[in-house]
């Protein structure tokens, strides 16, 4: 049996899907995207039969008209895949809008059962609904649900009803004459008239079944909160404060506290293995196992607690509904650079992982905006970059929370800057866009959901560490141990190893950025396979086995030792961090970019732009930082400034050319 879930965005559809199927897809209380159909199997506790019941979660839609492409996914599915019954999730607090879609679903001839969700809010608002009346007038059963509750949420009754109705005929309460229906497909005016009639019908139904005490149109406490939170100027520092809080808990307080114990175990394990092997194992094999595997992977895995705490906090943040307001706050700025509020979503998703973020750009209609967003999303530091940030803020800046926060704001700044450059290069700087976004109610975030999400992420991280990072580290270890004649490299002769000889040419390019050492170049290169590898590779090439001190509750074993070993000044360290964060993302993310760009010119342009950005920003950070701290510029200033200069000139030339192509600004209020 196949059950389809359809409903308006923000109606609680995904919460319901998770509750019914047990899959832990993340649920956010803000505007995001379900691009593909999501399948799941009904949990056995709701399924009394032996056969599997499939549940399909469709994209949220406001209506099923043939005019817009996103909504046609819903229509196509329902028409092509023949579900046995449709469960329509309806937000009980805005029937006036929600039932419009319901009447369209009812027209399809497939039995519909309505899950009247968020009924707890009805009680809160003292609104009374005549459920029987609704069932009668709409000719389908309405079942009260509260999808956010774990017990007594109405889901049992819902599924029972759905199973009972499966395969039956569905009467429709609002009939559109066939000729009108046909004509409506070609003539917008006729379609509109029909839709108006539909809305009138809905209005009538709602009027007869709903009794409101609280006028929804008045300003509520939540609106008052929004005034401050989404304020034009205040919104930004508030957002900054929130992010700072998230970072400091995960990287300065709770995170390192947990990591400390964890790393203690890794260390102990290292010791045990080392002892067990003693002298009886060849140094090659032993170093491969100890430093390459345990050391390298351990260095990365040591950050697991930090990452999990961070994701937990991000999940709470997303769940409470604040994120929608962030999108609203950022839209002002994004609009000025030719992007829209819609672009902020991929970027926020990107703070978890850039790949789903890039895929989320699929819904942006405007091609240029979509491609620009896909290209700029990786500038938001993703989860994989966290160990890198944590390592450097710990080793060079005593765990200061400002490092992490600055990286995020820098990401935002680079995105805005980058968007501005792109829109001028393409000559579209005067294109006007509209912005509209539904503001869901604030709600208390679910600890359970956040925990599950955090565990999910943790598991994925461990898998990644145990596979890709493990192999990379082993490879790096081998490459650093041998030279091209496959002899073991002597102490002090590391620069003759395979790894060194491959990385050195690149290292030369990095001299003006303050980190022209082959070890650092190698680490940055391995970062393209997975950004966590930067940490892993550094651990292997420098022979550092732990970055976390087990005695003091600090992230790094005496910042001096790591800093000394790497031989970087703080300006150079910051520059290196910036470089790794703002260059092209891992290959998997580049692959996702390729899928969205659909155009080689944009793809390579995007990658080139990312490389250029990483180089230029690292250069600026290093040179200016060195100037400020020592009073003179750093190494390789002249060749560096030439390279940077050439890049900047090239970009400006492209912008100028784009400006010449641009259409003049449209007049306001032209109708």
């Amino acid at each position: 049996m196949k059950i389809a879930l359809a409903g308006n965005p923000n109606s609680g559809k995904t919460t319901l899907f998770n509750a019914l199927t047990g899959s832990q897809e993340k649920v956010g209380n803000w505007a995001g995207v379900t691009i593909e159909k999501k399948f799941g199997t009904l949990k056995s506790k709701y399924n009394p039969t032996k056969e599997a019941i499939e549940i399909v979660d469709l994209p949220g839609a406001y209506s099923m008209s043939p005019f817009t492409s996103e909504e046609s996914i819903t229509r196509a599915f329902v028409v092509d895949e023949h579900p046995d019954v449709i469960i329509n999730i309806v937000d009980a607090t805005n029937l006036s809008r929600s039932l419009f879609f319901t009447t369209q679903l009812l027209d399809l001839g497939i039995p519909v059962v309505v899950a009247l969700n968020k009924t707890d809010l009805l009680t809160r608002d003292q609104t009374v609904l005549d459920i029987k009346g609704l069932t009668n007038r709409m000719k389908c059963t309405f079942v009260k649900t509260i999808a956010t509750k774990t017990q007594e949420n109405g889901l049992d009754a819902l599924i029972k009803e759905a199973m009972a109705k499966g395969g039956q005929k569905q009467a429709t309460p609002f009939q559109v004459p066939d000729e009108a229906l046909k004509a409506a497909q070609y003539d917008a005016k006729i379609a509109e008239t029909q839709d108006r009639a539909r809305y009138d019908f809905v209005k009538e139904v709602v009027r007869s079944v709903e009794k409101r005490q609280v006028e929804n149109r008045r300003e509520t406490m939540q609106d008052k909160v929004d005034r401050i939170v989404a304020h034009r100027w205040l919104g930004i520092p508030i957002f900054g404060a929130v992010m700072w809080l998230v970072f400091s808990v995960s990287q300065t307080h709770l995170g390192p506290f947990l990591a400390d114990t964890f790393v203690g175990w890794i260390d102990a394990f290292y010791g045990v293995v080392e002892g067990a092997m003693g002298d009886s194992v060849s140094p090659l094999l032993s170093s491969l196992l100890l430093d390459g595997v345990i050391g390298g992977v351990g260095a990365v895995v040591g950050f697991l607690p930090l990452i999990m705490v961070l994701f937990f906090m991000l999940a709470l943040l997303e769940d409470c509904g604040y994120m929608a307001r962030v999108a609203v706050v950022m839209d002002r700025f994004l609009k000025r650079v030719g992007l829209s509020g819609k672009s902020i979503i991929p970027m926020v998703i990107g703070t978890g992982c850039a790949i789903p973020g890039i895929m989320a750009t699929r819904t942006i209609k405007n091609e240029r905006q979509r491609r620009t967003t896909a290209m700029l999303t990786p500038f938001m530091p993703c989860g994989a970059k966290l160990p890198v940030i944590a390592l450097f803020s710990g080793a060079f800046f005593s765990d200061a929370a400002w490092v992490g926060t600055t990286m995020y704001f820098m990401g935002i700044a680079l995105i805005i800057f980058g968007a501005m450059i792109v829109v001028r290069i393409t000559g579209e700087k005067n294109k006007r866009t509209y912005f509209i976004m539904e503001l869901p109610e604030y709600r208390f975030p679910s600890i359970k959901r956040a925990t599950l999400s955090m565990l999910d992420r943790g598991k994925a991280f461990i898998i990644k560490a145990g596979t890709i990072i493990l192999l990379c580290n082993a490879l790096v270890q081998v490459m650093q141990t041998f030279n091209w004649q496959f002899q073991v490299v002597e102490e002090g002769m590391e620069s003759t190893s395979i790894l060194a000889s491959i990385a050195s040419p690149f290292a030369v390019l990095l001299i003006p950025l303050g980190f022209g050492a082959w070890q650092l170049a190698a680490a940055a290169i391995t970062g393209f396979i997975a950004k966590e590898n930067v940490v892993g590779t550094l651990a292997v090439v420098y022979g550092i086995t732990n970055f976390i001190d087990t005695d003091a509750l600090e992230l790094v074993s005496g910042s001096s030792s790591v800093a000394e070993i790497m031989g970087l000044t703080s300006a150079a360290a910051l520059a290196y961090l910036v470089f790794n964060l703002f260059t092209p993302p891992c290959f998997a993310a580049i692959g996702a970019m390729n899928a969205e760009m659909e155009n080689k010119k944009w793809l390579f342009g995007g990658i080139a732009f990312q490389l250029g950005t990483g180089y230029v920003t690292a250069f600026i950070v290093y040179q200016v930082g060195t100037l400020l701290t020592t009073g003179s510029v750093g190494t390789g200033f002249i060749p560096g400034i030439i390279v940077v200069g050439v890049m900047i000139v090239a970009v400006i030339a492209m912008m100028r050319r784009g400006d010449r192509m641009a259409v003049p600004k449209p007049e306001a209020h032209l109708a």
């Binding site: 805005n94 809008r97 509109e192 108006r196 912005f435 509209i436 539904e438 503001l439 209020h669």
Partner: protein, 89 residues
Amino acid sequence: MVGLFANAFGLKTRSERPTSLESAAIGETYTINSIETTDSEMKHFLFTLGCFEGERVTLVSVLSDLYVISVKDARYSIDRELASAIGID
């Protein structure tokens, strides 16, 4: 249209009543009398939300460039351009 034009220059017209949501008063409910845009897709999308001629819209609050409106008991945040495209009585 004259009212809109005059509004753009900051002049007061004979009637003080706002002609579009952009200049509407906070907390007031209006009846929509037109959607002024050539973008038919947008017009249709607004329609599916219940935002079309004859329906009621309330301006809940204004956060400088962004207008929070309520249509059919749901809240949306829209930008100034869109607000000026929603003509009201």
